[in-house]
């Protein structure tokens, strides 16, 4: 076992972990943060995507032991985040989720797209989303939801607000 200290959702956490424990399993089973979903467990499906040190990352192919001193944000910590709030509303309005399994990872990726690529057009949004699989195949609604948020933010910045 290795001792790690990291910041998870604005809380300092010290824990003992086996080096082979995936970050996703650590969060779900030791910290009971079950918002992070586990899908393929080899970095392809994107369900387990969360933020490490401010950037999206796969928590199935990142081991908890490698996150000593890191800052981790899971979907649970975005309740009051203004961008995530507008994304949740847009996902709801555009039917951007069905079973909900991919949704936490989709939202983390969606927020990254909105923050990093404010001028993204639809083909770019689709390309950026290609690392998150939705097996309900609800991509149209998800893309529309992100486009809606991008358009709203673009309009606001054009108005100088």
């Amino acid at each position: 076992m290795k001792s790690i200290t990291l910041r998870v959702n604005d809380r300092d956490v010290t824990a003992a972990v086996e080096p082979r424990t995936q970050l996703a399993d650590f969060l779900r089973e030791q910290l009971l943060l079950t918002g992070t979903h586990i899908g393929c467990e080899h970095g392809v499906c994107g369900a387990c995507t969360l933020e490490i040190d401010g950037a999206p990352a796969r928590s199935c192919i990142t081991y908890a032991v490698a996150c000593d001193k890191a800052t981790v944000r899971t979907i649970e910590s975005f309740d009051d985040d203004p961008v995530m709030t507008t994304l949740r509303e847009a996902f709801s309005a555009e039917h951007g989720l069905q079973c909900g399994y991919c949704t936490p990872g989709m939202l983390i990726t969606a927020r990254d797209i909105v923050m990093r690529l404010p001028n993204a057009d639809e083909p770019r949004v689709r390309k950026e989303l290609s690392g998150n699989l939705c097996r309900c195949t609800g991509y149209n609604g998800i893309v529309k939801a992100i486009m809606r948020v991008l358009a709203a933010r673009g309009a606001r910045s054009r108005d100088g607000a």
Partner: protein
């Protein structure tokens, strides 16, 4: 889908990382971003006794530009390169290639040196770095050595790195402002490993015309005098290169690499100043 039990060390400097590797006697794996090794560990295709995490080592995170070349630390991430960490014409090429590697969440952690040391024949950096005639800086118990990247990879997922050696950096000859290039990666879904890669580089001020065919089962096929690709008879030249690369037998492989190379040449010939 959970790895076997392994030990983990995260040394702060190169000397202690090498010491861990030496003591592990071939049963350790070096890990940086873990974006290729992680899946292999989870699938138990790799079962090391020890992981040596090299992300914290300063030398592996440095980028240095000299008049002749650019040296990129092995642990520099794809995302940093995509976002323009490498300056100059070479940075433009590298940023273009980086942007189509896997997905942003993977690029945020995956590293250029890790990709090269992993030596997946279908990986973008392997073909790109050989196209650019890069060399690799290696350090181990026996000291430092520099090797042309073309000599590093000996086969699919195989390199001649010794068990106690670490790939520290890649060094790429700079491109002149007149350099033009075309890179075409064929895959069925964005972000996948390539089915085929075609790449061509023309740097008239340095007298360089190189081409590469990647994702061919082993190290990419490199052509060091690819002038024929840019002059008359391009189709025949491209076909000849694909056959030289050992792809004549399989109709699909031959066609998909032929088309990738032709499209790379077309991108070069339609070059606009960016």
């Amino acid at each position: 889908m959970k790895p076997v039990a392994f030990d983990y060390e995260k040394p702060a400097d190169l000397a202690s990382a090498i010491a861990f590797l030496r003591r592990a006697n071939g049963e350790a794996k070096v890990i940086a971003g873990g974006q290729s090794l992680g899946p292999m560990l989870n699938l138990r295709l790799a079962q090391p006794r020890l992981l040596v995490d090299v992300r914290g080592i300063a030398a592996l995170n440095a980028v240095e530009a000299s008049p002749d070349s650019t040296t990129i630390g092995a642990a520099v991430t794809h995302a940093a390169i995509e976002d323009g960490r490498i300056a100059g014409p070479i940075g433009g090429l590298l940023s273009h290639v980086a942007a189509d590697i896997a997905y942003r969440a993977v690029r945020n952690r995956g590293t250029i040196g890790g990709s090269l040391a992993h030596a997946d024949p279908a990986a973008d950096w392997l073909t790109t770095l050989l196209l650019l005639d890069a060399s690799v800086l290696i350090e181990g118990s026996g000291g430092r050595r520099t090797l042309p990247a073309a000599q590093l990879v000996t086969g699919p997922f195989q390199t001649n790195l010794a068990a106690d050696e670490i790939l520290v950096a890649v060094r790429i000859p700079n491109l002149s402002r007149a350099a033009r290039w075309g890179y075409y990666k064929f895959c069925r879904k964005p972000g996948e490993f390539a089915e085929a890669i075609g790449a061509v580089l023309h740097d008239p001020e340095r007298g360089v015309v190189r081409a590469a065919i990647g994702a061919i089962g082993g190290a990419p096929h490199i052509v060091v005098s690819a002038e024929n690709l840019l002059n008359g008879g391009r189709t025949e030249a491209a076909l000849h290169i694909v056959e030289e690369a050992g792809l004549a037998e399989d109709a699909y492989e031959r066609q998909v690499h032929f088309v990738a190379l032709q499209r790379a040449v077309r991108r070069l010939s339609e070059w606009r100043l960016k």
